[in-house]
Amino acid sequence: MSLPCLLLAEFRDPETLLDAARRVREAGFKGLDAHTPFPVEGLAEALGFRPTRIRPAMLVGGLLSGAFAYWLQWYSAVLDYPINSGGRPLHSWPVFLVPTFEATVLGATLTGIVAFLISTGLPRLHHPAFAARGFERASQDRFFLSVADPHVDAARLAALLDGLGPLSLREVRGE
């Protein structure tokens, strides 16, 4: 998502960031995002993100791998290589459930990880925002609002955020 231009508004605390977020959204700006040192509750809603589909994906992934694990056990123990092991039934379903469960958890986890990477575009070692001066504090004690909208310039944003007193308002040239 390389942009022509990226506007970063810096705040001291999450509350102001939330107000700012609401305002820019009501103003109908596009390409909204924020950078914070820790997850701020309500921020996603304020910026109008759609709910993520990671968990449904995990459910599906888990069920699939669990089913595969059970099938593998059944196939190998009953069809492919049936042996009399201590006179136990070939299809010993109660014990087959144990590996099945583990496989489900593992499958769900891995799906979740993959889904996360896809939906966030990580790993991505470079991003225009990094170019902004003082952006390193986004991971410590500053809260940035970022707008990437071709129709919006710094002046417009500043006007909109009037009264919230952003510490700074920068324009980062995307390449």
Binding site: H35, P37, F38, D80, T109, L122, P123, R124, S139
Partner: protein, 452 residues
């Protein structure tokens, strides 16, 4: 669980976001390694090399270098495995269980507890492989299409073990690492040296705290936490079934799976407390790890010890009530046999001594805490070795009764494995933030809101 213990906010009221981060990050980035650390590092490095020697000798000579014998075919290796895996449980439990149950004070301890879990689980996973008569064939437990055209034998508890533990290790690694990413970004942004910036930068995968990322991260992390709890329970239940799914007196007990899970939590929490005390001192984390944390953890340990007591008594009762000859003989052997003194010692460490935590003073006195939790871990190791010794040395047929005598290599392998664990931990605290900084700050923000 014991959130009630935390009516007062555990974090210093006046603290600011940056300050807390400094508290955690500076020991790693700014302060140099102290002399104690360097000594400990050298010693544990040697012990790690020692472990290498133990393993080399094992591969040259065979498992005969241990004290195992025809009736007692299992020995230290299995006990160590169960013990380490038990320790490797608290981390994920604390992190996940407390997260789900909204115990926000977890923020101060979950990171290093997870690291502990990871290291302990990896070491635990080492032992079942070393214990094999032909260790280089361990991969035959993996279901893969092979020229022998045979599959693992799914009815074996060892196959369940293999599945559970490998899953658990992978899971713990990911869980720990995903929680770590935002902090790695913080480290990247605070690091002065170019090399450090690059290293942390790569490790943090270019995390930039985007609200979008936080949103997904939160969803994934909480979902994993929800998965972690049943996983942890399943892993040690399976370990319990290694013994319970058998015909041997003293093993064939339905109580084993829950009993093992409790035991794992118990020893794990004890180990967390031990480490927390050391870390707090070593890294000067007094601000973030407060007596209230210890108070809460001590209560959990106490609860664990009571649960252990109940498990033991249940075991004895069923053995006696069942009235089967072998079971009764085994019971008699527990209390009067050759290993009875060790058994009483085990009961003292696991049941008697932890009762001091009924006293608030004891819960908040670090010396007491330290000593008691060390004793608990010794007690738990004794429990594991006794489960093996008492049953196998005294089975169904008197003609095959034979005791187990440990050898030098038994002891060396156990001690050096502890050395390896400490070594990994020492390295960890010098490279990674030992406390989850973003969780701390989030907690701080919440407290501010609560006050407002």
């Amino acid at each position: 669980m014991s959130g009630s213990a935390l009516r007062e906010p555990p974090l210093p009221p006046g603290a600011s976001y940056g300050e807390l981060i400094g508290v955690v990050a500076d020991p790693v980035l700014e302060r140099g390694t102290g002399r104690p650390w360097r000594i400990a590092f050298a010693v544990t490095l040697l012990m790690t090399l020692g472990l290498g020697i133990c393993i080399a000798w094992l591969f040259i000579q065979g498992v005969g270098i241990w004290g195992i014998n025809t009736p007692v075919v299992w020995g230290f290796a299995i006990a160590n495995f169960v013990w380490w895996l038990g320790i490797g449980h608290a981390g994920t439990l604390i992190s996940a269980l407390l997260l789900i149950t909204r115990q926000h004070w977890r923020a101060s301890i979950n990171r290093f507890a997870e690291a502990m879990t990871l290291f302990a689980a990896v070491i635990a996973g080492l032992f079942p492989i070393l214990h094999l008569g032909r260790p280089y064939r361990f991969y035959w437990l993996v279901p893969y299409p092979n020229t022998m055209e045979v599959w693992p034998q799914w009815r074996s508890a060892l196959v369940w073990d293999f599945a559970a533990i490998s899953t658990y290790i992978i899971f713990s690694l990911l869980f720990w690492y995903w929680g770590l990413i935002p902090d790695l970004a913080t480290m990247r942004d605070r690091a002065r040296s170019r090399a450090a910036r690059y290293a942390y930068g790569v490790l943090s995968m270019g995390w930039r705290g985007s609200a979008r990322h936080w949103h997904r991260h939160d969803a994934l992390y909480r979902a994993m936490a929800a998965l972690a709890v049943p996983l942890v329970v399943s892993v040690h239940s399976v370990v319990g079934m290694d013994f319970a799914a058998s015909l041997m007196p003293g093993w064939q007990e339905t109580i084993f799976p829950p009993y093992f899970v409790i035991g794992a939590m118990f020893s794990g929490f004890a180990m967390v407390v031990t480490l927390a005390i050391l870390l707090r001192r070593g890294l000067g984390l007094e601000k973030v790890i407060t007596p209230r944390h210890f108070d809460a953890m001590a209560k959990i340990v106490l609860a664990g010890s009571v649960a252990m007591a109940i498990s033991y008594t249940t075991e004895w009762f069923t053995g006696w009530y069942g009235g089967e000859r072998a079971e009764l003989t085994h019971l008699g052997h527990l209390f009067t046999g050759a290993y009875a003194p060790i058994y009483y010692g085990m009961l003292a460490c696991n049941v008697l001594i932890p009762q001091v935590f009924w006293l608030r003073a004891a819960r908040r006195n670090l010396v007491t805490l330290f000593l008691v939790t060390i004793l608990i871990n010794i007690g738990m190791w004794l429990e594991r070795i006794l489960i093996i010794w008492n049953t196998l040395s005294h089975g169904h047929l008197p003609s095959m009764w034979h005791l187990f005598y440990p050898t030098f290599w038994d002891w060396a392998t156990l001690l050096c494995s502890i050395g390896l664990f400490t070594f990994l931990f020492l390295v960890f605290v010098r490279i990674f933030p030992a406390v989850a900084m973003h969780d701390l700050n989030k907690r701080l923000y919440q407290e501010k809101e609560e006050r407002a």
